[in-house]
Assembly symmetry: C2
Amino acid sequence: MTDLLLRNVRPMAAEPCDILVRDGAIAGFGRFEPEPGLPVEEGGGAIAVPGLIDAHTHLDKTTWGMSWHVNNRPAALRGRIDFERDNRAAIGIDPHRQSMRHAIGLAAHGATHIRSHVDIDTTHGLSIVEGVLETREKLRGLIDIEIVAFPQSGVMVMPGTVELLDEALRQGCEVLGGIDPCGIDRDPKGQLDALFALAVKHQRPLDIHLHEMADLGAFTMGLIFERIRTNGMQGQVAISHAFALGMNDYLRVGALIEQIAELDVAIVTTGAPSVAVPSVMRLREAGVRVAAGCDGIRDTWGPWGQPDMLDRAKVIGMKNGLRQDHELEDVLNIVSQGGADLMRLESYGLKEGCRADFTLLTGETLAHAVVDVAPRPLVVKGGRVVARQGLTVVDMP
Amino acid sequence: MTDLLLRNVRPMAAEPCDILVRDGAIAGFGRFEPEPGLPVEEGGGAIAVPGLIDAHTHLDKTTWGMSWHVNNRPAALRGRIDFERDNRAAIGIDPHRQSMRHAIGLAAHGATHIRSHVDIDTTHGLSIVEGVLETREKLRGLIDIEIVAFPQSGVMVMPGTVELLDEALRQGCEVLGGIDPCGIDRDPKGQLDALFALAVKHQRPLDIHLHEMADLGAFTMGLIFERIRTNGMQGQVAISHAFALGMNDYLRVGALIEQIAELDVAIVTTGAPSVAVPSVMRLREAGVRVAAGCDGIRDTWGPWGQPDMLDRAKVIGMKNGLRQDHELEDVLNIVSQGGADLMRLESYGLKEGCRADFTLLTGETLAHAVVDVAPRPLVVKGGRVVARQGLTVVDMP
């Protein structure tokens, strides 16, 4: 039973008040007196927001906390995938240790929930998933981790992968992943038919990486829409990246977004700085669920990124050309409520009755907090303090 | 006479050695014994690089250190310009105080040189320039500031501006600025003829803001090239932003870059996240001088940015899709040597005989330092320690 009295915070940058937590849930906002046995924290007038959510990352890939990984390999997507698969063990990227570091880093920066894609391939079988499942158990109560069974190396080009995905869903992966049915798998019908069949069999949602751009990505989206309709999977499918929605064709993108909204497909963005990305504002205006993630951080693919969803909000805001305060508030919503909408989290939010998952932010206003990316004064998960000033109560391995 | 013995640093991430400074200049690299009266600093094995250079900023505009400026004004470029001009005084953006804060912030983050565009318009006359000139004097020895007389509100649309620019060049501005001869000034021939005449009269270089994109920007670039040839100003002109070079037309951009290289025009980029920008790698491959700047930070135009050229290197690297270590080293070169090439700085560099302007960086490698953006352990200007761990020896006003 976790109780807490958090004094003097500004929920969503509103007037200061206290937050009372009973049994891990938010019992009320107002002014409360200390009670014997009730832990008290002083909020110092900081902003309180619901826990940040990294809705698209790869906990199993990072070199975070390891020595610097020198990368002078020119490589397109397929080359990066193959290099990583063939060298990750030799480089020392232990899936359990590295996912611990990555997830603890996210918690330190105010995240309370993660959706992580985790590699499944015929080289490693389910061993990488097992490492991340171990992390999930160890960090229970600190941060919630949802796992996507992710065929990083492809499905049809790697026979045996469908069986591995099937097994992964049996073993506790909540979501089925996919990747570039054309670009990576060379057989869009084959991959999508196989994935939708698996999703239906296990009654699991789908979250498909779609780096394919412009016409190619639009074609693949069409195939996905057809299968959502055929299988009655409205509201059950997410498309990550969705770079095709960044193409410079207003009407065509509008037609795609119309179907995305109609079929309640969620879009997960990382605000990828060097390519055309979907406009988060346009998607939100159309009523589409929009979530966001840090994607891979400091891995064999590239050096960028850090385990911090507030930093990612900044990347997304800058990439989308957002400057106004209310727009920055929207981006903060994307890296919090947006993830909850994607993952269909119940009792998420900074409201009475919701689970006491929240983080304090430093700043005069919400927009100021997004721009400053200062250390989080306090992170609370289920009423338990899990981090102070950027340091978690558990150590990184 | 400023002497210094800096022990145990890694110049450009090479093997550890000491750096000996005599009379404000680098006297040697190696192992040196302490001498009576010779100040000693311990470098702790940090990387040493030449001082960072912010080659495009606006010291007079920032709200840094002021209370958060709420901005819910939808505004295109002209609207931002007009709002700022008409409201900067009322908002309390004192050019001297704010340029002090901005410049000290840059020094704290390892910058030793700044090129700042400073607004000149018929509302404020030269009063804004005077505030920044005062900052330049006060910070002499801490950071060098070069001032561009910048007609932010336009030249031809604001009669009287040419005379103000003329006077500003007489009063100590080293460079003449310009802005969007078509988009802002509505009279490209008029503006460019006037600016080139002024530049020739004062024998000063030009640095022209060119936000104009695609065909429009390419047209304006053509007009600039013609006037460089006519006036023999090869090597004397810089184009800032140069968004037209970001257009998706490989051959056409190549033809523009060919002339840029031939006329030795420098390109100054900010890696603007939300628009198409020039490829820094392509420009460097063509032998073009490429510098970079933070642009305006936290001003009435928008909330983003901070006074840190290492952070800007990261923005530029991410925007340009750079992932390899050698590419990140190139970006570090752009935010240091690139600025020196733009400003034609003599005795700049981490070499014997050069001025002792350098900063220490934390990281295993140069690429690691660019990605981490950790506080700078030590910043040295002319042999004098001006900042430690992100804090300057002078306080912000």
